[in-house]
Amino acid sequence: MSRKHPYVGLPDRQFWKKDPGIKAPIRFDPVSPPPFQLTRRDKIITAGSCFAQHIARVLSEAKFTHLIAEKPHAMVPPDVAKAHNYGMFSARYGNVYTARQLRQLFQRAYGNFEPKAEGWKMPDGSGVVDPFRPQIQPGGFRSQEELNQDRKQHLAAVRYALENANVLVFTLGLTECWADVEDGAVYPVAPGVAGGSYDPKTTEFKNFDEVETYRDLQAALAFARKKNPKLKIILTVSPVPLNATFEDRHVAVSTTWSKAVLRIAAEKATKKFQNCVYFPSYEIITSPQTRSRYYDEDRREVLEEGVSHVMELFFKHFTNATPQQRGASEDERPGRRAALQRAAAAQKKRAQGASAKQRAKAAELRKARQAKNQPAQDAHTDKMEALNKVLCDEELLDNSED
């Protein structure tokens, strides 16, 4: 039986005007049924641009197994660990913006590529930073030797993560980057920004097109699959616009070019690899249905409300779990979260209007609390602290049993 035209009978999601997001942004759902599902037992590794940090964080908060292969030492309390970027991603690689960077990260982890770049001197000259993750270590490394030692541990963690994960979530962020002219090693930020210095003789600008980006992505994913054949792959494109472009044009124009390239590369990869799916976080944030409401005042950073929308759909489609089933509280649902954000903003505004006396009192209380603060610590450190108190206290030091 012939149809009137080929669109007859197609699902509603394939028609713009039938999208419920036109009337109600929160109901915008551009996700197609994925080829696989996730469970809390799946070990998920994450990498990518800064938007990937949100995905990693929400996965952890929702008690999914975000595989952290590079953990801080047990004595390091959570706030210090967080400040030093442990747990942000599966290993301390920091933001991986380009497909070339991901490809080279995997190659470096297995000794297949040894860039010649040494540590970059810190801006204040007090140490060095790792050119391949220059912002990972606040305070930098004391020496090249310390950097090498930490990098050795880091790359071992990358190998562990790759070989032991069930799922890789990679968020493509940029096409522009800076590379060593000799060996092609790419850096996440230009030399001179977070260490080192820019020398056009040693560093060149690159803006990878769709062919190069796909080639790098394909090589990185093929490498990952070689090490871990059952690895499922979820690709996303960051909805965060470029912060700056080196191309001689408006940054907004560079952003669309870059995102288009990344989107094409991701799509091609889903065609090439089985169990490799594109998740449209980019579209959720940028489509007219959501009316740009998910961007912060700088029109660049994505608000928590937007992250929440993205992740609700992620959980809905990959886990078939409602917020309640995935253990999220009512407060974590998108609408509720937005309401909470508005309430917090109002409170902040009120606080700004508080008298100097009230502010001083609040500051004093904060200071007192801070002064009493002891870092959260592990059982061994607790024990050692107690022992240290004995050694420090002449009256307590004895050889009795009590």
Partner: protein, 250 residues
């Protein structure tokens, strides 16, 4: 006959000023006063009075000191953070690089902890000390601030191991093993960096441990140790001499 060029010194600290106090008790020097800040537990256990320190509020009471207006305030607040982390082996063995950034030992079986991570660990433990330093500087606005650095750890050896019988808790801790020398010394050096940063704003004169008190590798000589983490009265005497000399010269 007291030396008129000797300035009056008020030492304020916790356990590391005990060596100074004991030395000064053995051989009193004019103008030297030691205020040891006690722990609540120690006050409770001993009933000993600390008139110049209010244990409830944690405040120093200058009026109750022998000399409420000392020329010099010598600080040595806490200073054993490095020992909490590094004296005995952690079940997850770890290693640090040396102060000049070298990897000293074979550390492949250990978790490597970057120096700046360790520094933040120490910083987090010293929040109260930082506050107290500010309070003390405000209490004695005319006094010169001197920072006496705490002594380095003891080198691993028979002398250190023989100290295990001093307390049952210590005996238990020795079973985990002593941390590697290089890492213990590195932990100490990082602690010292934190302390120096702490007093920089107060334009403090920094007094390093006496060079004659140290082994070639930079550890505190065994004969100058009172226990695994503190210097004894002889060390106190050496430091007292050094501080008076450096204060005179400053």
């Amino acid at each position: 006959m007291p030396d008129p060029s000797n300035k009056s010194l008020l030492f304020i600290g916790m356990s590391h000023v005990i060596a100074i106090r004991t030395a000064n008790e053995k051989q009193p020097r004019p103008g030297v006063e030691v205020l040891r800040i006690p722990t609540e537990k120690s006050v409770k256990n001993t009933g000993q009075a600390y008139p110049a320190f209010d244990i409830e509020s944690g405040k120093i009471l200058p009026d109750k000191l022998g000399n409420p207006n000392p020329d010099v305030v010598v600080l040595c607040l806490s200073g054993n953070e490095h020992n909490v982390y590094a004296l005995f082996e952690h079940p997850e063995k770890f290693a640090l690089v040396t102060a000049d950034g070298r990897v000293d030992d074979d550390i492949d079986d250990r978790t490597f902890v970057p120096s700046s991570v360790f520094k933040d660990l120490v910083l987090a433990r010293r929040v109260a000390n930082r506050e107290m330093t500010q309070d003390i500087a405000a209490l004695f606005p005319k006094a010169q601030i001197v920072q006496m650095l705490p002594p380095p750890p003891m080198e691993d050896g028979e002398a250190l191991r023989n100290m295990k019988d001093m307390d049952p808790k210590l005996e238990e801790a020795f079973k985990s093993g002593i941390g590697p020398d290089a890492t213990r010394l590195a932990a100490y050096e990082i602690g010292i960096e934190v302390i120096k940063d702490e007093v920089r704003a107060h334009d403090a004169l920094i007094v390093e441990p006496h060079p004659d008190a140290l082994t070639k590798a930079g550890f505190l000589k065994a004969e100058l140790c009172d226990n695994p983490t503190h210097g004894n009265a002889v060390y106190g005497q050496m430091m007292l001499d050094k501080i008076q000399k450096e204060v005179r010269a400053a």
